[in-house]
Each structure stands twice: as structure tokens, then as C-alpha cells.
Symmetry: C3
Subunit: 331 residues, 3 copies
């Protein structure tokens, strides 16, 4: 793509050479000639990139070709997917074990994939090496499942999803009832799991089936690595969940929530639409967390959390003050 094609695609103003051939994208630091970068920050950057996407407000007197955008990072992201498109895989491996009664229209089935009876795998899907698809699983158009993932019986996965390696979807939830001898009997874990369209899930995650009802991940939600989603959790649309966070049974995460890394959400919690939960926080059972930014164990509104952190940091001073007061009174 030439710089003018990029500017045109982005409906952006071009300042500089319209005819530079751009072969790829890179960071400002790492770029080489022929590459496109972006900057949202100050104008005094140094780069070997041949063109840089910058804010509209940017000073144009820079040595490099500029493409001006309202949101440079977004513009860069959009053009990147054109310059570095995902390379679709094609073909079915002879080593795959596809059940006779599976209905498979996948464009790629890798080495040693196994697919159970009753599975519905739609066109454009890629099932990479070692993926295990259980009975009656359905997978929508264009979904990519990376190597060694395991999808249990009956799971429903939407279109245009991406599931990274080693992730397990539909295993039993963690529910037990103590019997008269103190042994733990498994509460029925016979529900379903539904992943809607455009969901992306990182590597080595675990998403349990519902115990009786269903576990659901809403459309456009993105999940990082090593995340645990328990039975019957309901996650809305466009939710972000960062690495190593966990959500316990039956909790509800509404649309557009952001959950940072290593957060713990206990069972039967509701996180209202648009709330942001800071890293390493915990929400204890049955809480309702409203919109806004929350942090701490247990979570407080960020302003409260920050105040409290300062108060605790100043405890020595407070203790000294009290000691001083005691002395004064004694005298």
C-alpha cells in the first residue's frame, strides 16, 4: 500500500510523500524504512519509519510523512489489519478423526484434531492441531481455535471467535453437596456454555458449563490468558477481562465492564454496565458493584480506596499524635 492509499482508507490528511510503499507496521522505536508507525504523544519523536500516523493537532514540520487522524492508535490498528492480515489456513489433515455424524464445513482441520458426532462446524472455521471437539458442539463461521484446545460436549461457539491454545470450554463446574458421611457429592453439572460472536479468549483459560442453566459470554467480549469463568456466569457484550482473573459461580458481568488482571469476583455478584475493576481487587459474594472505577480487597470506589491507602500510610503519624496528646493531658 502506498501512503496515499492508507490516508484514503483512513479518510485522513496526508502531509508529505503520497507515493511511499508501506510494507508493514512497527513501533516508533523499532520501525525501519518502508514501515508505518504511530504516535499519540509529543512531536519530538525520532524514528526510521517512512510514515507516522499522528493526531490532527500535530505540528506538520516534521521530517517524516505524516497521516493525521483523530485517534492515531485506532487508525494504526485499522490499517495494521490490512497490512498484516491473518493468513487463513486451508485443508484437512488426514490424521484428523472426524466422526461420521459430524457436519463439518471447516476450511482448515489440523493434525490430530478430533471431532465428535453431532458437531456442526461452519465454513471458514479453523481447528488447529490437537483440538478436541466433543459431541454436538456447534461453531459459527470463521472461528479460529488454536492448538490443543478442548471443547466439551454441547458447547456453542459463535462466529468470528478466536480461542487461543490450551483453553478448555465446557468442563464441569465446581459444585458439591456434602452427604451424611461428609463426602462431597457432585451437584449436577449438566448445563450448557454459550460463547457469542466475536469473542476472543486467551491461552489456557477455563470456561465451565452451567450446572443446570447456562454459562454465557456475550458478543465482542475479550478475555486474556489463564482466566477462570465458573458455572452459570453471565458475561455481557464488549467486556474486557485481563489475565488470571476469575469469576465465581452465577455472577453477572454486564456490558462494557473492564476487569483488570488477577481480579477475583466471588459468586452471585453483579457488576453493573461500564464498571471498571482495578487489578488484584476482590469483590465478595452477593455484592452489586455500580458503574465507576473500583479497587481494593474488598473493592471500594477508587476515591475511597485512594484516601484509605493514604490514611493507612499515615498511621504512624496518627499514633504519634495520640501519644503526644496523652503526654499533654498527663501534664
Amino acid at each position: 500500500m502506498k501512503t496515499k492509499d492508507i490516508a484514503e482508507f483512513l479518510s485522513a490528511e496526508l502531509v508529505g510523500d503520497p507515493g511511499i510503499e508501506i510494507v508493514g507496521v512497527a513501533s516508533l522505536d523499532g520501525a525501519e524504512p518502508g514501515e508505518l508507525s504511530f504516535s499519540s504523544g509529543p512531536a519530538d519523536f525520532v524514528t526510521n519509519a517512512s510514515a507516522v500516523i499522528v493526531p490532527n493537532s500535530f505540528d506538520s514540520s516534521v521530517h517524516v510523512t505524516l497521516i493525521k487522524a483523530a485517534n492515531p492508535k485506532l487508525a494504526f490498528t485499522r490499517i495494521s489489519s490490512l497490512l498484516h492480515p491473518y493468513k487463513s489456513l486451508k485443508g484437512w489433515s488426514e490424521t484428523a478423526d472426524v466422526a461420521a455424524k459430524a457436519n463439518v464445513a471447516a476450511s482448515f482441520i489440523g493434525t490430530n484434531v478430533s471431532i465428535g458426532d453431532g458437531a456442526q462446524i461452519t465454513e471458514g472455521c479453523e481447528l488447529h492441531a490437537g483440538v478436541r471437539i466433543g459431541l454436538n458442539v456447534s461453531i459459527g463461521k470463521g472461528t479460529i481455535i488454536y492448538p490443543n484446545c478442548v471443547i466439551y460436549d454441547g458447547a456453542k461457539i459463535g462466529s468470528n471467535c478466536v480461542i487461543h491454545a490450551g483453553t478448555v470450554i465446557g468442563s464441569d463446574g465446581f459444585g458439591y453437596v456434602k452427604d451424611d458421611k461428609g463426602e462431597h457429592l457432585q451437584f449436577p453439572q449438566i448445563g450448557s456454555v454459550v460463547i457469542e460472536d466475536n469473542v476472543e479468549i486467551g491461552a489456557n483459560c477455563c470456561i465451565d458449563r452451567g450446572s443446570l442453566g447456562e454459562t454465557r459470554i456475550g458478543g465482542g467480549t475479550k478475555i486474556d490468558n489463564l482466566v477462570h469463568i465458573a458455572h452459570n456466569v453471565q458475561i455481557g457484550k464488549r467486556v474486557l477481562i485481563a489475565g488470571q482473573s476469575g469469576i465465581a459461580g452465577s455472577s453477572v458481568i454486564e456490558d462494557d465492564v473492564v476487569i483488570a488482571g488477577q481480579v477475583g469476583i466471588s459468586d452471585h455478584v453483579t457488576i453493573k454496565a461500564g464498571a471498571i475493576i482495578g487489578a488484584k481487587s476482590a469483590v465478595f459474594p452477593n455484592k452489586i458493584v455500580r458503574s465507576g472505577f473500583w479497587s481494593g480487597i474488598p473493592v471500594q470506589r477508587i476515591e475511597e480506596y485512594t484516601k484509605q491507602t493514604v490514611l493507612v500510610r499515615n498511621l504512624k503519624k496518627l499514633q504519634d499524635d495520640v501519644a503526644e496528646l496523652k503526654r499533654s493531658i498527663k501534664e
Copy 2:
């Protein structure tokens, strides 16, 4: 099963129609006609279930057929396993790689399973697709191992265990000794791992072998997803460990302990029988935690933890009081 058969199986009182054919279980909300549900709560529920298991104390003047039990959830769990039995798998895949010197009586060996020399796999076992069994592994009667689990050489797994997909048992513990150049040499990780009978382990867990001695998980213990059990940990019987918790080297968890989600237990800790450790808590090295309910980082008895949380929440008030006292004294 008819409602009268269910009541009989549970030795429970039936109030209503003894002849309804029950085809499955469901939640109160989700049930359809022909399904059985349960309620431990108030009597004013609305449901389409054809029968509901309720407490003995329950008011019988409800529109639906009732089955009365001392513990409705337990009764429901027991009957569910009859109405929705696990569907055992049969047969050996031709794609499995079973070593010549393995002694295998499994009832099911899935696609691409591999089994090493010296392995002892007892009757009734199911090894699902892609499971890797090392040398000299022994697995007791009726144990089910879900796809893509990895069992390292020499691990011993008991009878009637369930191990969910992607779990790794018997990998090296994390033990290093610094040499004179500051490099980390691996301390020998040549011990064993023993999983006793009736243990259930979630997906993508890691249970390390002992460094010199053994790592042991006691009978009837249940472990959720993404749990980390380090080398030489000794876990008693009927312990519950929720998602993303971790137990560091050589710690001892006695019988009937409950560990909630995202708990961290440091090394050389002892958790005494019957203790409950609240979610997101931490127990630091060499501690002994007695029976009772504990929470916090580091853990305190729940009463202390709750008091302290309140005290911290009231710090602003305390600071204001001290400021007020200062003013009074000055005057």
C-alpha cells in the same frame, strides 16, 4: 422415573401426584414440564417443574407435586445422578499409541492417546483424546481423564477419580539452589505424586511431583480449575480447593479443609483439619492455621478480619477526632 419412584429412592414423603414421569432435573426458573427441581428457600416460588424437592417443613398447599426431604439440595443431587448418569465411553481408538509393556484394561482409549511402558491402567478407566500417560503410571478402576491431560512418569492415580482437560500431574517442582556463579541449579525433582481415590480435579491444573518425597492428594478431595499444587504438598481427605488457588512446597492441608478461590498458601504451612480459608487470602510461610474461618492477607480469624476492616474504614473519623482533640487541648 415416576415421582413415586423418586420419593421411594429418597425415602421421602410425596405430596401430590405419584405417577408423573420425570425425565430430567432443572433449576426452578429453567424447568419445563416433566422436570424435577428443588427449593431450599421460601414457599412462594413459581416454576414449570412437574415436581419439586422441598424441606420437610414446607407448606404443602402448593400447586405442584412435592417431595419432602431433610436436605433438598442433597436429595436433588442424589436423584440427579440417576436421572443424568455419566455416559461411559467404550472402545479403543486405533490411533492410540499404547506401549508394548503397558498393562491396559481401560474401557475407553480415545483418539491419539499415548501410554508409556510399565503403565497400569485398570478396568473401567476412560482416557479421552490426546491424554499423555508416562512410564509406570498407575490408574485405578473407573477413573476418567479428559482430553489433553498429561500424566508424567510414575504418577499414581486412584479409583473413581475425574481429571478435567489440560491438567498436568507430576511435572517438576520449582526448587533451585544458587551456585557460586549465581546460576540456579535444579534441586532434584525425583519424587512421586499420589492421587488417592474419588479425587476430582478441574481443568488446566498443575500438580507437581515431590522433590525427594511425595506429593499427595487425599481421598475425596475436590479441586477446581487452574489450581497449583507444588512439590511435597500433603492434602488430606475431603478437602475443597476453589479456582486459581495455589499451595506452595511442603505445606500440609489436613482433612476437611475448605480453601476458597485465589487463595495463596505459602510453603511449610499447616492448615489444621476443618479450617476454612476465605477467598483471596494469603497464609505466609511456616504458619499453623487452626480450625475456624480465616480471611485476609495475611489471614486472621474472620472476627478479627471483620473488625479490622471496619476500623480501617473508620480511619478518617479517628483522624478527625484526633485533630479535634488537638484543638481542644490547644484552647
Copy 3:
């Protein structure tokens, strides 16, 4: 090996019988005759070991043959690797799927391994059953990759590394940009991941590729199970990272840092060389953590953290003091 050979190998003083045949190592408690153990502690141990490595200062009047070393645990570790050498595997499984254009000199390729075009697998490597190697992956001499690991396209892994089962290297980082409709577009995740020599990684870990640049793990670094390393993280040499810790995007961990279990390091953090981060701690975004021992959420120097913990534990006393002062003033 005879006891005199062991003493000679360690350049250590032997006190007792030089001719005992030692067949293996064990703990003091677990040892049987013919085994070697070690003790760094008090002299009054009881053991069935035939020889024990002890500190130089140790009283020699013990019933068992002694081998004296400046650092008994290090000496024991060194001799253990001779007495219990890793048993290298040889041969290529016929079930492996090795791409025509891969350059493979591995000494072992297990059942159902798949290797993509352009891969460079050096001599002495072992790829255990079910390992998935993407396109253009390079792996150095003598590296061992345990079953069902997934190495994405283009990852570079050094020599003498050990990667335990189920670990995923090179999956996409977690980076999204919100578009005008509130949908999350994936920021390009097209960078690389480099694992230097002598790195050991536990089971079910996730190490993401760089978004634009690279993710790098320095030589001699050791990583425990279920650890999450995000895109563009730079980890130095000889770093230790314990179980279930996570490091968010673009953070820098310098040489010889020690990170205990369940630690969270946010994005764009720098942990300076030699710092130690205590278990369950959190470092929030953009912080620089200097050398020394740190703990807490967020981290403080250990002395501050300890003081503060005591101050908080004494809050009730402080509150009572203030109440008492109020009464005194009133009177």
C-alpha cells in the same frame, strides 16, 4: 558411585567409610540404606541414609558417614544430577507430522508431534507427545519440551531449556483499541517471542508474543507453573518467578529479580536488578521498584510493610486511646 568418589567430585572432606556404594539420593527422613542425604540444620538428626552431606562446621562424632561441604544443599544438588541423570529419549515417532520444509535434527520426537514449515529444531532436542510447533520456530540444542505444549509461529527458544507440559508460547497479547461503536479492535499482535538459553518454564504457563516488538525471557531464568507473561515483557537473566504470578504488558524485570507466588506486576513497571517481591504482592502501573525486599498491595519496602501491618493490627488500641482521651478532656 562410592562415598569416596562423591567426596572427590565435590572436593569435600569425607569422615567415615569411603567405600559405601551410593545408589541414589533422598531426604533425611525418607532415606534408606545405600542412599545419600544432606542436612544444613542441627547435628541431632536420625536417618537411615548411608551418608550425609553436612556443613564443614558439623560435629563429626555421628554414627553415619559424613561428607563436609561449605553449602550442603548445593553439594547435594550437584551430586544428585549425577546419581539421577535425566534419561534422554531417542527416536522419532511415525505418528509425528513433520513439515517437508522443516529442518529437524531433534533426538526425540514423540507421538503426534506436529512441526510446521521453516522450523529449525537443533540436535539433542526432545519434543514430547502432542507438542505443536508452528511455522519458522527455532529451538536450540538440547531443549526439552514436554507433552502438549504449543509453540506459535516464529518463536525462538534457546539451548538447554526445559518447558513443562501444556505451556503456550507466542499466543497473541491482550491489546485492544475501542472503535467508534465501542467494539474492541485487536491492536496488532505481530511481534516475536525470544526465550534465551537455560530457561526453565513450568506447566500450563502462557508467554505472549510482542505486539510490535518482542517479548524476551533472559538466560537462566526459571518460571514456575501457571505464570502469565504478557506481550513485550522483558525479563532479565537468572530471574525466579513462582507459581501463578503474572506480568502485564511492556514491564521490565531486570537480572536476578525474585518474584514469589501469586504476585501481580502491572504494565510498564520496572523491577530493578536483585529486587525481591513477596508473595501475593502487587506492583501498580508505571512504578519503578528498586533493589531490596518488597511486599504488599501495592508493594512497600518490607520494613514499612511490616510496621504498617503492626499499626493496623493495633488500630483497636489506638481507637480506645482516643476514646479515653475524649473522656479525660470532657472531665
